[in-house]
């Protein structure tokens, strides 16, 4: 399988990429690592006029400690999160989530920004970023704005990122959670998570339980009211709308969400409190 005919342009730097986005908008499809986009193009599930390759914009590949937050550049590869000492010290959940993605080959190519822009409702790293209450930086030639990670995705594959913008950075607030857990359930080994949960102190986030990654507000409210882990976890699938497909029924996903939340809260015991 090869993609349909496509045009290709590699951006030399961020300034050029933003200028081209301003001028041509959605005519250009940003290409980061391509680990989601290329399979979609090969299967002809997606059509693109022109690929704008961002892969060589070295200025967007970094992890930096900036006092009240840890900044991760959008073109940072997953694999770096597994070994970066700043990630290990300040936001180890990102390393755990990145380790759940694909395999080493995919992690050598795939990027943080690409994962966010793909807005897959079962994606690992975006789930961790929602639980950590991270912000996503969107840049255009007019400047930058911050969007909460929890609000970036508006549906499967759809985000608040405008046609003239690019995801350039994520900012994880510090200090990070005193207690956290990341739990995922997938089968077979290389498949996307059916359901995954990330807990960071009193914040509980779920992937695979609706069109976007979401906070489990019922669980959070129960914890805030003093409920135990078991009682709180029973509310995991409140207000959720999981898909019913060939990989799992909606009822099974609901079951998984309750089990995974219970286990994640147990990981954080004594019970997390907001």
């Amino acid at each position: 399988m090869i993609p349909a005919s496509v045009r290709y342009h590699r951006a030399a730097d961020l300034a050029e990429a933003l200028e081209l986005r301003r001028a041509y908008g959605d005519l250009l499809r940003p290409l980061a690592g391509g680990q989601s986009l290329l399979p979609a193009l090969k299967l002809r599930r997606d059509r693109v006029d022109t690929l704008l390759d961002l892969g060589r914009i070295g200025e967007l590949s970094y992890v930096a400690h900036r006092g009240d937050h840890l900044a991760v550049g959008a073109l940072t590869r997953y694999q770096r999160l597994l070994t970066d000492p700043l990630v290990d010290r300040y936001a180890p959940m990102l390393a755990t989530a990145a380790a759940a993605v694909g395999d080493p080959q995919v992690r050598h190519a795939g990027t943080v920004g690409g994962a966010l822009a793909q807005a897959d409702p079962a994606a690992d790293l975006p789930l961790a970023l929602v639980a950590l209450d991270a912000a996503v930086v969107l840049a255009s030639t007019a400047g930058t704005r911050e969007v909460p990670a929890a609000e970036l995705a508006v549906g499967p594959g759809a985000t608040l990122c405008r046609p003239d913008e690019l995801v350039t950075e994520v900012r994880v607030p510090l200090p990070g959670p005193a207690r956290w857990s990341y739990r995922t359930f997938a089968r077979p080994a290389l498949e996307w998570s059916l359901v995954a949960v990330a807990v960071a102190d009193g914040r509980v986030a779920l992937a695979g339980m609706g069109p976007t990654i979401r906070r489990a507000r019922g669980v959070e409210a129960a914890l805030a009211d003093g409920a135990g882990a078991a009682a709180a976890a029973a509310r995991a699938d409140e207000d959720c709308d999981p898909v019913d497909d060939v990989r799992a029924s909606a009822a099974y996903r609901r079951h998984l969400s309750r089990v995974l939340v219970a286990r994640a809260l147990a990981d954080c015991s004594p019970e997390v409190r907001p």
């Binding site: 090869i2 694999q79 080959q105």
Partner: protein
């Protein structure tokens, strides 16, 4: 704004160093890296198994790190150092990973072997070890083998790691 003014071209020039040899050629932008290697350069050790980024048979090293060449455009490799299984041995002398695979009978039909070997080269380069069996199995989760049941592959990698730990 005319349509012709938009950026990008359907043909791209891809300049690489493949197994130490410089190469530059024009290919359609949609060309996958594995097709550049197999069909343009005639390097057919790199195989296409699943063609969906699952099986790892197409694994090559891009600037020293394992990637799946069925899921990268050749254009993304422009300017990079690419290594395939053809580039591992030094003349008649096998690369240590190849030698360990031979020693431990870590292959049968051989279809997955080039990708498997390159995934191991990348693993040993990135991870100073010592490696556990679990580490090795986790690191090779993206390389499927339908013959060996993986046991001898894991043994070969653990033997390589033990040897380097012993110095």
């Amino acid at each position: 704004m005319t349509v012709d003014a938009r950026p990008g071209t359907e043909a791209v020039t891809v300049t690489t160093t493949v197994n130490g040899r410089a190469d530059s050629r024009q290919v359609p932008a949609r060309t996958l890296l594995v097709h550049l290697l197999r069909e343009e350069l005639g390097l057919t050790a790199t195989t296409v198994g699943c063609d969906t980024s699952s099986c790892g048979a197409c694994t090559v090293l891009l600037d020293g790190r394992s990637v799946k060449s069925c899921t990268l455009l050749a254009a993304q490799a422009d300017g990079a150092d690419v290594r395939t299984a053809e580039g591992l041995a030094d003349g008649d002398r096998l690369h240590p990973v190849q030698e360990a695979f031979r020693e431990h009978h870590a292959l049968q039909c051989g279809f997955c072997t080039p990708g498997m070997v390159l995934a191991v080269v990348s693993l040993l380069d990135e991870n100073p070890g010592p490696l556990t069996e679990h580490d090795v199995r986790r690191a090779l989760v993206g390389n499927l083998c339908r013959c060996t049941g993986y046991h001898n592959i894991v043994r070969a990698v653990l033997a390589l790691d033990a040897a380097r730990q012993a110095g």
